[in-house]
């Protein structure tokens, strides 16, 4: 799906453009859309293009890789697999209603706890050498 189409898709689902920043280096950018429940961040960082999701109900800048939401919904334990930008967009388009449910007022805290746990599991898979700090 091309960016113009994803823009149209998001607008049709009540999202508004919140932020659009373009860097001078490497053509990097990030664009944020929100519908009041979910916020979505489209990123290009050097050669990586990705989509992050966050709760619009939390007044913070905390983001979760949308691929982790995919892992969560599909109960996929293989967390260290990179999605292409097209796969991110396809997942987003196919699951926009589920995303709204996951991040609505009743669910967002539980969803975020699960995503934090998946982040830690993914770190173990990506960096077997990493020794997490002890509590």
């Amino acid at each position: 799906m091309k960016s113009i189409q994803i823009d149209a898709f998001l607008k049709a689902h009540g999202f508004l453009l919140v932020k659009n920043e373009v860097s001078d280096s490497f053509g990097d950018y990030y664009t944020v859309f929100s519908n009041g429940v979910i916020k979505l961040r489209f990123i290009k960082d050097k050669s990586t293009k990705a989509v992050d999701v966050g709760s619009a109900l939390c007044n913070n800048e905390v983001w979760y890789d949308l691929s982790l939401v995919k892992n969560m919904l599909y109960c996929d334990d293989q967390l260290n697999v990179a999605l292409t930008f097209e796969q991110y967009q396809e997942f987003l388009v196919a699951n926009i209603d589920r995303l709204n449910s996951l991040f609505n007022y009743d669910s967002y805290k539980t969803t975020i706890e699960k995503l934090k746990e998946l982040q830690n599991q993914r770190t173990k898979q990506m960096f077997p050498w990493f020794k997490p700090p002890r509590d």
């Binding site: 490497f26 960082d45 050097k46 050669s47 990586t48 990705a50 983001w63 890789d65 691929s67 967390l79 260290n80 697999v81 990179a82 934090k116 982040q119 830690n120 993914r122 770190t123 990506m126 960096f127 050498w129 990493f130 020794k131 997490p132 700090p133």
Partner: protein
């Protein structure tokens, strides 16, 4: 720049910092690193050079044996 050229530029920057014995501040926590990103590549490169994440998760420090 191609991704290979970008990585070479990054690597040169890191190698110079290694020669100076620098420590590295982690701008993004390690649990938010994306698979396939340059950041992942940088962390693995520095680990191979003897660095480890500090106990508070904020720095990459040279481990002295």
């Amino acid at each position: 720049m191609t991704p290979v050229e970008q990585w070479r530029a990054n690597q040169e920057y890191l190698d110079n910092a290694l020669l100076r014995g620098d420590k590295f501040r982690l701008a993004t926590p390690i649990n938010q690193v994306r698979e396939g990103s340059f950041y992942q590549q940088e962390l693995n490169y520095l680990y191979d050079k003897g660095y480890q994440v500090s106990s508070d998760g904020s720095w990459l420090l040279k481990i002295t044996k």
